[in-house]
């Protein structure tokens, strides 16, 4: 029934993307102990674990041959709201057992200090400003100017420069820049400056209500932003290895 057009038009794009997932590094095979120790952690931050994909790491186990109680472990994780997606490390028998539980076998390239941020595959959803020339000029000079609200779910990335936003950035929106980020309206979303590691990058907000601010990989979430700075003119910068948020 499909028309010619429907069958030839691309139905998908295959892309590679990196994700930062929590890893449950098993140290022992005692699943009851895992349960007893995991439960309080989940209760501390139920929102964080809810529907969160997790990876089970087997590298730290004393032996790569012993049977891991995957059915119990997977059941436990699912019961706590997590979605176990795969295992890392371990031996062939363990991999077989994991496959039987529909877990993926992830490559064992554990690089300590690897960049947590996804930078290769940024979906650029630049808000259409009506004048399409504007963002392009932004790209040439290495800076972006956005004058429409940045909505929940939108991401704006200024590659190689600063990002300036004149309208509200709403909760669930994400700003990224290799340089500084300036927001001259309520900033309720996420701001990630110095995306490629520029430690001198700063974030300037006229009304800080952000969910997350980050400079060169150092971040703070809303909970750890002092309440007295919320709604104020602030700047966020890196002082040695401490992310500081100070009034302007």
């Amino acid at each position: 029934m499909d028309s010619e057009l429907a069958s030839t038009a691309p139905a998908f794009e295959l892309k590679a993307a990196g994700f930062t997932l929590p890893v449950i590094r098993l140290l022992r095979l005692d699943m009851d102990a895992v349960e007893a120790q995991l439960l309080p952690k989940v209760q501390q931050a139920p929102g964080f674990f809810q529907h969160t994909p997790v990876v089970i790491e087997l590298n730290a186990l004393p032996s790569a041959d012993e049977e891991v109680g995957f059915p119990q472990l997977v059941g436990l994780l699912r019961g706590l709201g997590m979605i176990p997606v795969g295992v890392r490390g371990g031996g062939a028998a363990q991999h077989e057992a994991a496959k039987a539980m529909e877990l993926a076998i992830l490559s064992d390239a554990a690089k300590p200090g690897a960049k947590p941020e996804v930078v290769d595959d940024l979906a650029l959803e630049l808000p259409v400003t009506g004048q399409s020339a504007k963002p392009q000029i932004g790209i040439e000079t290495g800076s972006h100017l956005v004058d429409r609200p940045v909505r929940s779910g939108q991401r704006v990335y200024a590659a190689g420069g600063d990002l300036t936003v004149l309208a509200a950035v709403n909760s669930g929106a994400e700003l990224m820049a290799d340089g500084n980020i300036h927001v001259y309206a309520p900033m309720r979303g996420r701001a990630i400056a110095g995306l490629h590691g520029d430690r001198a990058a700063r974030i300037f907000c006229s009304d800080l209500q952000a969910e997350l601010v980050s400079v060169a990989g150092h971040y703070r979430v809303s909970d750890s932003i002092p309440a007295k700075l919320k709604g104020c003119q602030t700047q966020v910068f890196l002082d040695h290895d401490v992310l500081r948020i100070e009034p302007l």
């Binding site: 808000p127 429409r148 929940s152 669930g172």
Partner: protein, 269 residues
């Protein structure tokens, strides 16, 4: 020139179908030839709200698949001769709506109708994307609570990046806000967001504020668009919506708590 209006929200249960029915009926009552399309394939409701569920023979999916022509599928409203309903299929899934198919049907409707009102399903998946893709105007239905506001915000982002007008660099979609299920008492007690709070986040042209009202449920049960209940507050608020959409200036109503009359105060005393 025909205009295609999508009634959307992201979140479910906020009053999209009620709004679509009211918008379509309101426009048709003013003499505009109007068709309202249910995009909620598999969960169709519009026919119930419009009270034409027993007259559905062919549906939107049949037309797209060439199993019926448009005139066979369109149902003329019994109360208003300018209003037609194109029901969704209840038996298929949302993939029944192909972009070419939807585009062709809308193109054909544009030849004869002044307004095409698209009732979007909840979510941001295929069905919702199809409903908004060809839109000229969007009415974002929002309840005064944080999750609904955030979902509407997300929907607005999608409208400005994934619609036909956005992708073809055409003039952007005109976006309007409709605040529904508004309860001034609960706003006053801090349980609900106020109009200003919602406007501060979404920053849109506000079409109307629909008060929480029993009339809405009664109208749905009766299969009568609530806009026809001219005595009710919700019906009047929807009339305001249509008037403002067409460019009339009307003061906002139903934002304040009902003042207790002297007598009721006295007797409660």
């Amino acid at each position: 020139m025909a205009r295609t209006i999508v009634i959307t929200s992201g979140k479910g249960g906020v009053g999209k179908t009620t709004t679509a029915a009211a918008m379509a009926m309101g426009l048709a009552q003013r003499g505009h030839r109007t068709v309202v399309i249910d995009f909620d394939v598999g969960l169709r409701n519009l026919d119930l709200i419009m009270g034409c569920e027993r007259r559905v023979v062919y549906d939107f999916a049949n037309v797209i698949n060439g199993e019926a022509n448009l005139n066979q599928a369109l149902i003329r409203d019994k109360r208003c001769e300018h209003l037609f309903i194109l029901p969704a299929s209840q038996t298929r899934d949302k993939d029944a709506l192909t972009q070419e198919g939807v585009g062709q049907v809308l193109e054909e409707l544009r030849k004869t109708y002044d307004y095409i009102v698209c009732d979007s399903p909840a979510g941001i998946e295929h069905g919702a994307l199809m409903a908004m893709y060809f839109a000229d105007d969007a009415v974002v239905v929002t309840n005064p609570e944080v999750s609904s506001v955030r979902d509407s915000d997300r929907m607005l982002g999608i409208l400005s990046s994934k619609s036909r007008r956005a992708l073809e660099n055409d003039e952007p979609i005109r976006e309007f806000l409709l605040l529904s299920r508004y309860s001034p008492e609960r706003v006053a007690s801090g349980e609900m967001l106020g109009v200003e709070d919602v406007q501060e986040i979404l920053a849109l042209n506000l079409l109307s504020v629909i008060p929480e009202s029993k009339a809405v449920l009664n109208a749905s049960n009766a299969g009568t668009p609530v806009i026809l209940d001219v005595e009710s507050d919700a019906g009047q608020a929807y009339s305001d919506m249509v008037a403002r959409y067409l460019g009339e200036e009307r003061p906002m109503r139903f934002l304040e708590m009902e003042r207790k009359g002297l007598f009721s105060r006295f007797f409660r005393g």
